[in-house]
Every structure is written in structure tokens, then in C-alpha cells.
Symmetry: C2
Subunit: 475 residues, 2 copies
């Protein structure tokens, strides 16, 4: 296989390395691909020289799980030697060290190629709220790339990197995956340390992982996940080897009334076709009214949590508002008027709504939803910077408020060629179950690449029976 | 035994009932005792007629665990047929139903004699912040009765009732127990439903139980605890039968630097004597620097949680401030200026401090602290309504912020005759462990009564080994 066609997956790269390929050549090829794509919006900071030096210093393959795998990092996550901007040039600083997760990935042998574009301060699901050039959607340039982790998703979708880090508060690790036909793994909150990450909503943020397949994303997750004493929100989360899910699962799906697609009939059709595959695989589909979940979703930007974003941006909103993207500023400003009483009342309401959702979740093993209700065209978001963005969060905004884990997975092109995607969601700690189900659904092109999709060959597992939970007791 | 000397404990009453005593006679005797005490500050609402009617309707003893046991309810907890005031006359309303816990206790056969005085809106640890007459301390009229559950504690200490309900946010269920030589059980948050309770800090409130012995308090807890779907903060908490604790426990105690007594040398001496008894019983004492716990304690009134109290009081603070006790008003008003950003920053700081405390707790089975650092005289609190109150919360304020369960237990009079008391605290769900340890320490008079203290005869248990946790998985 010529280097230009080599999939940057772990298996393909490790096979090529074994056959004599040098990591410097892979780094050079990655930047050749980036140049060929010709999208100046993907990266905010290219680290070509640093990456080449790192590649050279790797020596011979040594069995580390991510040895020689090129990756990209969303620019709200610190990488030593590269500025962190959060897509706000005035905010830029030079971090003294790698973020905890970046350090683990580099320790596992991965090579960071640079920092990727995002909706400023990770506030947005569209990817256009940036003072830098907007990354182009890798599949269809008429639609938004998705955000906030826009550059990371597009970089993976073009095969420039093997994987990329995003973050996910409202859906920033899932929506861009859906829009670019790749996998977006949003782990249980606390599984991936937030040390060295610019917060959006500190109680709801997590690093997320983009990759071309579920198995790739899981390999990265295994390397990245570890408790971090420096992050008070870090939690021990089980990351077992990925296996096929048990055959007789109960999977919740939206009932007809709550399968919201804003008139996109193809999206509903495509989603029903995908859930039919789940049923074919032996799952019992349980129709659920998602309205209680949507009620939680609406709290994220209409309620107290806006104040978390204000807290994260600090004095900038009042002292230097002109340094903010106009849309970001417009979204954050109402947060200045919220009182502590509002905040606690929001927490009470969330707890009440959460209790309703937990009852619905108690009857199922996982929830399967469309990752996005429909697509958003660039001209739509130009005409209305907020409405279409909110719509994109229909099936994502509630997940972190309810402490769910999730994974967005491409399910193959819809009848019109646009990428299909569903998200598997489950209560905290069931990341492996979601990933296992997702692996059974992934289909179609891997982003915009021509890479051949590897056969899904997950081993069967001795798993807890459905409705049981594996519990790890720590401390 | 003459009725006037009959202990109102479950065992003594049930034996007397078996011998022919009528519950109406017990209700009459309870009110005779109250009249004899001559303290108009204990009850805000007497329910003599309602209680007599209830006693008459009980019929013959039927084996219910609290059949015919008279009890009192803090006046921030609803009892049908009695007004709820929260010690704010203008706030008074007639509840349509019993609070969830009251309903359970009445269903178990207990007879409610009335509603007891409190620091207004449960804000205080002294018991003097009330527009009603201040209840007198049952042991020493020169010192404060303790609050906020002042009337409930004093009623139990005088033997007017067998037990009483309080609430505990900052220590309101423990401090008055210490000041009146009785037991104060403050369960794991969520074990006792908050339905029908006027909130103080909704995320931190729990109903608490006053009784003369640990075993009595536990019997009440067994009857009262149940999940409540109507309370989003309700959690399933294990309430096993009370047993002796395992013999080789690791008990954390404050190190010399953090054994704060504000110069009360007797209190330190008394506490060391009590912990020496723990060591004699086989426990390993582990000296701990409590400063991280004190840092959490300070957050309760200095930080964001003040806004929860403001939320609970609602518009009263701005619309009708003259209806509030002047001290309560002075405490709450700064909460109006707190922003939602302040609230979330408070939550972040708590999480960070909690992580430090959790590490300290991981090495021990339970923590033993003085319930109060020292006593507060009525003239002291008259001269400074806030400072001495804050000092009383030294060892209590942090418990609910850290999701600890606890029980205050009388340990017998100090050398000067004032009541000794320690509190056992542990991580959530270890209520039975704390109670078991506490039962091994209880000593001295039961409040101000002349009742003979029953022998502590807890059965040995097949308990998890120390450092293990019994886990209940629900849902």
C-alpha cells in the first residue's frame, strides 16, 4: 500500500511500522494530507517541527499501544510547547505542561500534530463561532462542520490524524462526529481528567475522543483514562477490554412523538432503519417518551449552567468583551444576571427532572437516539447564529446533566448521501456497553477517507447479564 | 412503677401497655410533665386534644414498633391538623397532610403531641433566634438550649416525649442533643424524605431524630426511613438492625492542633477520656488534622449555600423583611448579593476540599469528634448573636456538605456537671456503624430525667470486615 493511501488506524500503522515505515514519514504524510485538503480552518496551531522531532525520538517500535500514531488536540486542551487559545486569541497562553490526558497519550507513544479549531470557549455545536477560518465539513461543504470540536472532527474525517481529542459539555464530542461520519466517544464524566483543560461548564465537561472506528476510539480511551488526584472531578471509571455486547439487550428508542427531526423525514427513516438493525441483532426496542430528557436538555443554556460558562471566561465578559466572538458574547451575557438563588433553583429542578429520567432509564440497558435531529447549512447559521445551533443539541444536551456516557457512531450514508449517525447513551460507567453496541452498528465510509472499514470482530465477553451493573469499589 | 416515673422509652412503655396502661393516660402524663417543667418555649403548638383522640383510636396494642409512643415534631415539619410556622408566625400555614416521615411514624403507632420551637427557618445552632419564648436548656438554664431543633431536644431531655423529630443542615440535630444530654441521630442525606419539610438548604437538609438512647433513636429511624418518589433528594439507604460494631475499628480523632475547644480545657479532657474508652474497646485511634474539615465547615455560612437559605425563604427577605427575626434577617441578607457564578465557584471549591477530606476518611471507619467545642451561655449570645453560634458548628457544619452520616451521643457529665457528648461521623450509608459505636459510649443521665439507663445489649453482628462497605444496588 502506498503511504498516501495508508489508513492512519492503529492496526494499519503498526503493521506498516513493523514493515519498516518510519514515524517521521507518517508525520510528513499527515501534513501532506492536510495540505492536500487545503482547509486552513482545521488547525489553529500546526506543530510540524515539534511532531517530526518527536517522531524521530521515538526510536524503534516498542509495543506501546499508540506508538507512532499521529493525533490532534482541540485547542482548549494544553499541549506543552503549543499555545492554548480556546479560539480566543487574546486568551492565548503557553502552558507549562501537557494536560493530564495528553501526557498519557504521548506516554503511550502518540505524536501530537497540533491544536485544532473550535467554537470559542467550547460554546457551540456548529463550529462556526471562531475568529479563525471556519473548518469545512469533510463530507459536504454546504453544511456546518459541527462543534465545538470542529477541527478535531474534520482532521480525523480527512484521515490527517488517527484520532483527535475534543471536549464535550453539550454535545461537542458527538455532534461533529455525526456531521463528519466518524466516531465520537464521550466518556462518563470524570473518566478522563480535566487537568489542563480550559473549562466550559466545569461540572459537566469531559474530554472526548474522535476516531474512525469504535475500536480505535476505545484503544485511545484505554490509554487516556486514569484517576487524577489533581482534578477534584476525576472519578475511577472501569475501562475493560471492548467486547461484543450481550445479545438480549433492552434498548430505549424515542417514541414517534419524541423522534424530533425538524421535518427531516430522511433522518427519521434512517434512524428507524438503524434501530431495526439493533432488533435484528436480538435487542428488544423499548419506545420511550424523550420529553423528560428534552426538558433537561433545555436547562443547559436557559438556566443556571450558563453561569458556569461565565465563571470559566472570568472577567473577560465584563472587562474585555470585545475580545469575544459576538455570538459567544451574546450567549454568555445573560449569565451575568443570574443569582446564586437562580443557580440553586436550577440544581433543584435538575434533580427533580433527573429523577423522572432515571426511572425511564432503569428499564433499559442503553438508549439509542439520532446523534443530530437534522443537518444545519452554513447559510442557515449565518442567518440565525443561535436557533439552528440549539436544534443540533436536541439529543446531546441532556447527557452530561444526567451523568450519562455516550458514543456517536456513523451508520452509513442516508439516501441523500449525508452521513447517518446514532448515539448510544447509558448511565455512568457503562461506557464499554455503549461502545460494544455501537461497534455492531458502525457502517459506511470512515469520514471522508477511502479507507476500507475493518471487519467488526469484537470478542464475546463474559459480561454481567443484562440489567446488572459491574461495580468497582474504590477507596 | 408510678406513671410519673415511667420512662417514655419504647421498652418501658410497651411493657406498661402490656400491663394495662392506656395510651390516653400516657398522653395526659406527657402534658402533666410539660406543665411541671413549666417551659412555655418548648412547644409552638400543643396538640393535647388531637393527641388524646389519637390515643383513644389506637385500640389495643397491635405490635407496631412505635405503638403508643408520644413524640414531638419540630415546627418546620408538617403534621396534619397543626399549623407549620418554622418559627415565623407570618409564614404559618395549615398543611393538608403529614410530612412523609411523620406519616410513617404515625402509621407505626406513634402519637404526635405537638410542634416544637426552633431557630427561625432552622437557621441557627443556639435556639434563641425565635419570636416565641426561648426554650430553656434542660440541664443548665444558664446555657443556650441549642438549635435549631431547640424545642424537640428539650422535650426529649425532660422525658415529655419518647422521641422527637428535628432537622439538621449545619448541626441542628446534633448540637441541641449535646447541650441536653440526649442522642441526636443525623442520618445519611436522603434516608429520611424531605417531603413536607420546610427547606433550609435543600441540598443539605435532613430530618433528624432525638431520643434518650441510641437504640431508641434507631428504632425510630427504622420506622421512618423509606424511599420517597416525591422527593428528588430521597435515596435508598440501608437501615439494618442495630448491632455491636466490629471490635477492631480504626477511628479518626482530631489531633492536638485541631482539637478546638476555644479554651475549654474540660471539654478537651472529657473528649480524650471518651476516646480512651474507644481504645479500651479495641479501636485504633488515628489522629487526623481536621483543618480540611473546618475549611469545609466555614463554607456553609460564608459561601454560596447562604443562597439556598434565601431560596427557601423566598420573597419574604425582600418583600416582608420585618417578619423575620432580626438575626435571621442579618444572616440571610448577604445571600441576596451572591451571583450564580459565586454559587458554582462555591461548588467547585467544595469539590476540591471534599477530595482532601475523602482521602483522610478513606483510612478510617469513622470519625469521633466532640459534638460541640464548648458551651454558650445565654448572656454570651445576647451580647453577640452570631459569633458564639458559629463556634457551636465547629464539628457539625461540615458533615452534610461532605455527605457524612452522624450521631451525637451523651457520654456522661464532665467534671463540672455539664453534659459530655461526642459525635460519630462516617461516609454516607454507614449510619448503623456510627450508631453501633455510639451505643458503646452512651453514659450518664438520660437528659434531665431520672430514668435508669438501660444496659447496652447490642447483639454481635455478622458485619462486613472493617474497611469494607455493604453495598445496596437499586434500580
Amino acid at each position: 500500500m502506498t503511504l498516501s493511501k495508508l489508513p492512519f488506524t492503529v492496526d494499519a500503522l503498526h503493521a506498516a511500522y513493523k514493515a519498516g515505515l518510519q514515524p517521521e514519514a507518517v508525520v510528513a504524510e499527515a501534513f501532506r494530507r492536510l495540505d492536500a485538503v487545503g482547509d486552513a480552518g482545521i488547525f489553529i496551531h500546526h506543530a510540524r517541527e515539534q511532531a517530526l522531532a518527536e517522531a524521530q525520538s521515538l526510536g524503534a517500535p516498542d509495543g506501546r499501544p499508540l506508538w507512532g500514531i499521529p493525533f490532534a488536540v482541540k485547542d482548549n486542551i494544553d499541549v506543552a510547547g503549543m499555545p492554548t487559545t480556546a479560539a480566543c486569541p487574546d486568551f492565548a497562553y503557553q502552558p507549562g505542561a501537557d494536560a493530564f490526558v495528553v501526557a498519557r497519550l504521548r506516554a503511550a507513544g502518540a505524536i501530537c500534530l497540533g491544536k485544532t479549531n473550535l467554537d470559542q470557549f467550547a460554546t457551540g455545536l456548529v463550529g462556526v463561532r471562531t475568529p479563525y477560518p471556519v473548518p469545512k465539513n469533510a463530507i459536504d461543504p454546504a453544511i456546518v462542520p459541527g462543534g465545538s470540536s470542529s477541527g478535531s472532527a474534520v482532521a480525523v474525517a480527512h484521515g490527517v490524524v488517527g484520532f483527535a481529542l475534543g471536549t464535550d459539555t453539550a454535545g461537542s464530542g458527538r455532534v461533529p462526529a455525526a456531521l463528519n461520519a466518524i466516531v465520537g466517544l464521550k466518556p462518563t464524566l470524570g473518566a478522563l481528567s480535566a487537568s489542563g483543560v480550559v473549562p466550559a461548564c466545569r461540572t459537566l465537561d469531559t474530554i472526548s475522543i474522535f476516531a474512525t472506528t469504535v475500536a480505535e476510539a476505545w484503544t485511545v480511551f484505554e490509554a487516556a483514562a486514569a484517576p487524577d488526584e489533581a482534578d477534584a472531578y476525576s472519578r475511577p471509571v472501569a475501562v475493560p477490554a471492548l467486547t461484543a455486547p450481550p445479545p438480549s439487550l433492552r434498548i430505549g428508542v424515542p417514541n414517534a412523538a419524541s423522534l424530533v427531526t425538524f421535518g427531516d423525514a430522511l433522518q427519521a427513516e434512517d434512524f428507524r432503519a438503524t434501530t431495526a438493525r439493533l432488533a435484528d441483532q436480538g435487542a428488544t426496542l423499548v419506545e420511550i417518551d424523550l420529553e423528560p430528557f428534552f426538558a433537561v436538555a433545555r436547562m443547559l443554556y436557559e438556566g443556571a449552567w450558563l453561569a458556569e460558562r461565565v465563571a470559566a471566561v472570568g472577567d473577560r465578559l465584563t472587562e474585555k468583551p470585545e475580545t469575544l466572538h459576538p455570538t459567544t458574547r451574546a450567549i454568555l451575557e445573560p449569565g451575568l444576571d443570574l443569582t446564586a438563588v437562580d443557580a440553586f433553583r436550577g440544581l433543584y429542578r435538575l434533580r427533580e427532572r433527573e429523577a423522572v429520567c432515571r426511572k425511564l432509564l432503569a428499564g433499559i440497558d442503553a438508549l439509542c437516539v439520532p446523534t443530530i435531529p437534522t443537518f444545519v447549512a452554513l447559510d442557515e447559521i449565518a442567518a440565525d447564529p443561535i436557533g439552528p445551533n440549539s436544534r443540533l443539541g436536541t439529543y446531546t444536551n441532556f447527557a452530561n446533566l444526567l451523568d450519562l456516557c455516550g458514543i456517536a457512531v456513523p451508520t452509513g450514508p442516508r439516501a441523500d448521501g449525508r452521513p447517518g449517525s446514532v448515539t448510544l447513551l447509558a448511565t455512568q460507567g457503562r461506557d464499554a456497553l455503549c461502545a460494544g453496541i455501537a461497534a455492531g452498528l458502525e457502517a459506511g465510509p470512515m469520514g471522508a477517507t477511502a479507507w476500507p472499514r475493518p471487519a467488526n470482530a469484537l470478542p464475546d465477553a463474559v459480561l454481567p447479564a443484562p440489567h446488572e451493573i459491574a461495580i468497582a469499589v474504590c477507596g
